[in-house]
């Protein structure tokens, strides 16, 4: 992966190259070994390209190769390895390069503006809607239904930003307190400045190989044993935002494939999507890693810390490492990979780990993407 930063000199293509090159180097491979390339990137309006996938193709290593871009909003990053998985599992490819890229900085005056255009053009855009509204509405509903406090939610931001202090590519690592979060500038109540991940430029990449080749390439392969994805109805105002049903369905799809019946016991640690701090709690519950409304308690008790019983976002997550959307999802998959191989350095979780999970979320509170990886 590249550094995640607010603004990068590299074009999207160049960032994709830097990340893809690192992934190939890490696997001891060259581009000629790659059978197909899958790229993920979120809205075209950020980078400022129509058909963004075509624009990024050389950077991702797709020059004169079978190449496809996949796109499920914020869920894209974790969906990239899912699509790469079916390339390999179908037998059509043995080695697939999977790249996530996002360059949000070109859009002026602020990348947030692009999010206005994710809303319904007839009934929602005329109200001047922003992306922050929908998060704030969901956060409020979650707090209301399960009686969750802003303090409990702030603990997630404190943990993830601190975890990111050990991530060499991180954009916003920090040692902050619950007080800092609560006192930070209100943006869209109950959402405050420090509840939110930044806008970022960055890219990340992973290499997938067939069973036979993986065993030849390394003594310590990490296996993808479960994949799941799900998209809920467009009509988000018709759903109870307190619980992500779509995520539960995506998770169940992945658990079934990985033969997991009790995720709370069988998943050792997880990288869950945390563009906002409450989202980590919401997603833990949707993934059945915590009961409904129970994630704040686990967080309070330190269960989700790196030295806890169920470490969540040891990387530092989007809140700490940064949120170049599709790249951030791939970063999570990379983190699970490094953790499972014991290569996460100072970020290595305390307990021994054999099975991890990476998850991303996207669209209008609508998409869940889940990958389960094992040593």
């Amino acid at each position: 992966m590249t550094l995640f930063r607010h603004r990068m000199l590299e074009t999207g293509k160049e960032m994709a190259f830097e990340a893809a090159r690192m992934a190939l180097d890490s696997a001891g491979l060259e581009r000629k070994d790659v059978d197909a390339v899958v790229l993920g990137s979120a809205p075209d309006a950020f980078d400022g390209f129509h058909m963004k996938g075509e624009q990024l193709l050389d950077g991702a290593g797709g020059f004169r190769k079978p190449y496809t871009r996949v796109f499920v909003g914020g869920g894209t990053g974790v969906f990239v390895p899912i699509a790469a998985w079916w390339h390999v599992a179908s037998g059509l490819a043995d080695i697939v390069l999977a790249v996530g890229e996002e360059k949000m900085s070109p859009l002026q005056p602020h990348p947030q503006y692009a999010f206005w255009t994710i809303f319904d053009q007839f009934l929602e855009r005329p109200l001047g809607v922003t992306l922050l509204w929908i998060f704030a509405l969901e956060m409020r509903r979650y707090m209301h239904v399960y009686n969750v406090s802003e303090e409990d939610i702030a603990l997630v931001a404190v943990k993830n930003k601190a975890n990111a202090l050990d991530h060499p590519a991180a954009q916003l690592p920090a040692r902050i307190t619950v007080e800092d979060v609560l006192k930070s500038e209100p943006i869209c109540a109950p959402v405050k400045r420090l509840d939110v991940s930044p806008t970022s430029d960055g890219a990340a990449a992973v290499v997938l190989a067939s069973e036979e080749l993986a065993k030849k390439l390394t003594d310590t392969p990490v296996w993808i044993t479960g994949v799941g994805w799900n998209v809920d109805t467009t009509y988000w105002t018709n759903r109870d935002l307190c619980y992500p049903e779509y995520l539960e369905k995506a998770a169940r799809m992945a658990y079934k494939m990985a033969h997991i019946t009790n995720p709370r016991k069988e998943i050792d640690f997880a990288e869950v999507y945390d563009p906002f701090d409450y989202k980590e709690l919401h997603h833990m519950e949707g993934l059945l890693l915590a009961g409904k409304g129970e994630a704040p308690k686990l967080t309070r008790e330190g269960v989700t810390q790196r030295d806890g019983d169920l470490p969540i976002n040891p990387s530092g997550g989007l809140l700490g490492v940064g949120n170049p959307i599709a790249a951030a999802g791939v970063m999570k998959v990379a983190e699970v990979f490094w953790q499972l191989r014991g290569e996460a350095g100072k970020r290595q979780v305390k307990k021994p780990v054999n099975r991890g999970l990476a998850q991303a979320w996207g669209d209008l509170m609508q998409v869940g993407t889940v990958v389960i990886m094992e040593r």
Binding site: K13, A42, P43, D44, A45, G48, F49, H50, M51, G53, E54, Q55, L56, L57, D58, G59, F63, K65, P66, Y67, T68, R69, V70, F71, V72, G73, F79, A83, W86, H87, V88, A89, S90, G91, L92, A114, T117, I118, D120, Q121, V227, G228, W229, N230, V231, D232, T233, T234, Y235, E245, Y246, K249, A250, M253, M257, G362, D363, L364, Q366, V367
Partner: protein
């Protein structure tokens, strides 16, 4: 079960196919097309479909993150659904892989376009190019098509008449096609008198925009056998991109189509593509591309497609029918729906006639160098 019968195309539905479609929203168009596809094989998408794949691009929709608006009208709410930012034919390839990987038995692939709703087409096309090196000179991409056409004609000694003959043939083929918006009986002279946009490219050589939605249903061998008596088998798939840098491409050859077809032919065990197909539905969204693609696909040797076209070999009753549907020049430019629209034509033609093998190829249009190829067999 042989390798060539792993995945079948079992049904297709459509809506639109008109220059304007004011009475229906894109959602309603999708619902119509999906309904038609599902009804033919009697499936309930809420219970039976394992995966939904949608192929659209944000800026043609005027929506960022288009997949948000896809699930409901396909029966895909709270189900595995995704966007493949590619031509719809590539969605078919992804569906093919989902089935052969064992993760799905029934996959729905959808693509739609409402070009009539996009008022800033020029700007959208400009946004597809590099802002520093390419946009300042290439306007809406049409000058690029002209540069490629000139180089292709130069290297292969191709006359403008043969390019115009593609237009005459395809627009005439379309007269019998109810989905055709731009078919006409024209003379070579009429086509060549059309306004020159950027030399040597004339307006008549460029497919004009239209609106449509197409839905395809793919099934595994067992599932296909259980829901239809007339499966069309997907015997080979291939996809390939050349380069995002316009300056790094070979203007005279469609390397993208060559790469995609080689992959598909290998899978379908086709050694001699010039003899393998009863007919082909290939990209003709800019008339000279039909010639260039025929050569890239190995249907004709390099530089020989023009001569064959002038001889009438590629007519519907010729020895190698090319675009009997009328192609994009008749159906219109359907953006990412182009590939599925042509798959639909091949699907219907294979069912109607005593044919056994067809080739469908899509290209994502100017300014891209990406193609998908699917080999169909009865």
């Amino acid at each position: 079960m042989t390798l060539s019968k792993q995945v079948a195309l079992v049904s297709m539905g459509y809506s639109g196919f008109s220059t304007v479609t004011p009475q229906l929203s894109f959602k309603e168009m999708m619902f119509e097309a999906a309904n038609m596809a599902y009804a033919q094989v009697g499936i309930d998408p809420r219970a039976e479909v394992d995966s939904f794949i949608c192929c659209e691009e944000d800026l043609l929709e005027g929506i960022s993150i288009t997949d948000e608006y896809m699930p409901d009208q396909l029966g895909g709410a709270q189900r595995a659904l995704c966007t493949i930012s590619q031509d719809g034919l590539n969605g078919v390839v992804q569906g093919y892989m989902q089935i052969t990987s064992g993760i799905a038995d029934l996959v729905v692939v959808e693509s739609h376009v409402k070009f009539s709703n996009v008022l800033s087409k020029r700007d959208v096309h400009s946004l597809a190019m590099d802002p520093y090196l390419e946009r300042p000179f290439l306007d809406d991409g049409i000058p690029l098509a002209a540069l490629e056409m000139r180089r292709y004609m130069h290297e292969n000694g191709v006359s403008e008449e043969s390019v115009a003959e593609v237009v005459v043939k395809n627009k005439r083929n379309g007269l019998k096609n109810p989905r055709s918006s731009y078919s006409a009986r024209l003379t070579l002279d009429e086509v060549m008198r059309s306004e020159e946009l950027w030399s040597p490219l004339r307006r008549s050589y460029v497919a004009q925009p239209a609106d449509a939605c197409v839905v395809a249903v793919l099934a595994s061998y067992a599932k296909a056998r259980s829901i239809t008596d007339y499966p069309i088998w997907i015997e080979g798939v291939g996809w390939f991109s050349e380069s995002s840098w316009i300056g790094l491409r070979d203007f005279s050859r469609a390397l993208y189509a060559e790469g995609a077809s080689k992959m598909a032919y290998k899978m379908a065990k086709i050694d001699n593509p010039s003899k393998a197909f009863d007919f082909v539905e290939i990209d003709d969204s800019i008339a000279f591309k039909e010639l260039q693609h025929l050569e890239a696909l190995g249907i004709y040797p390099q530089g020989k497609a023009a001569e064959a076209t002038l001889k009438g070999e590629t007519k519907e009753d010729g020895s190698m029918p090319v675009n009997p549907s009328g192609g994009s020049l008749s159906l219109g430019n359907l953006a990412e729906t182009t590939g599925l629209a042509r798959l639909l034509e091949a699907f219907e033609t294979l069912k109607k006639k005593d044919y056994s093998k067809a080739l469908v190829q899509s290209w994502r249009g100017i300014p891209t160098s990406t193609a998908t190829v699917v080999v169909l067999g009865v």
